[in-house]
Amino acid sequence: MILRRNPVMSAIALIANFCCIALLYLLLQAQLLAVLQIVIYTGAIMVLVIFVIMLLNLGDEERLTERYDLKKIVGAVIVFGFLLEMLYLFVFSDFSEGPALHSDATNIGTVENIGRALFGKFLLPFEVTSLLLLAAIIGAVILAKRKI
């Protein structure tokens, strides 16, 4: 995704990525969230992104200006270093003794259980999030208007 020149191709690659992650969630017995991942991320956010790309009528990023400047090199180096660190940890870690999937994991990820948590212990953040969404709506509308 990050190497594609055409932003639409990048978006499609990201959609595929999201679907894979949803499958991973299912593997982890998080049913509700898998579905939510597809609905919210691929269904809403990526659609929004593609809309904006089409709205702004972006072309490919020009090859001319795609020079290998200092920023790119340094950025690439740093990420490479980061990956090396991860690799190191991966290689030299012990895979025999790891925690196992929790016995109750199946029941945790159900709709009912998450619903109970949301309306029980996490009621306040839940309500506050509605305010947040309200603010986002207003902000998005005002920012994108042609004339205020």
Binding site: A30, I45, V79, A136, A140, R146
Partner: protein
Amino acid sequence: MEVPLQYYLFLSAIMFAIGVAGVLTRRNAIVVFMCIELMLNSVNLTLIAYSSFLGDVTGQVLVFFVMAVAAAEAAVGLAIVIALFRNKQTINIDEINILKW
């Protein structure tokens, strides 16, 4: 055969690194935004992995909220991009530096 926890964590880390690379190297603002979403997803994966392995529902609830916030952020961020494009006719990040000294 179960997938050990570490595999999930490493996948998450690698996804995060890819997202960082994208943020640092790409010049298109929307692509940068998509890479940020990728980073958010990697964190979500970590949270859910831990939640399943520890048996605590808190992780999944947190992911729920992260998704909600990501959606809101997406809306507002893209609105900003539209407004920027209208003003400067470009979404090349290198050229959007009006917040400097």
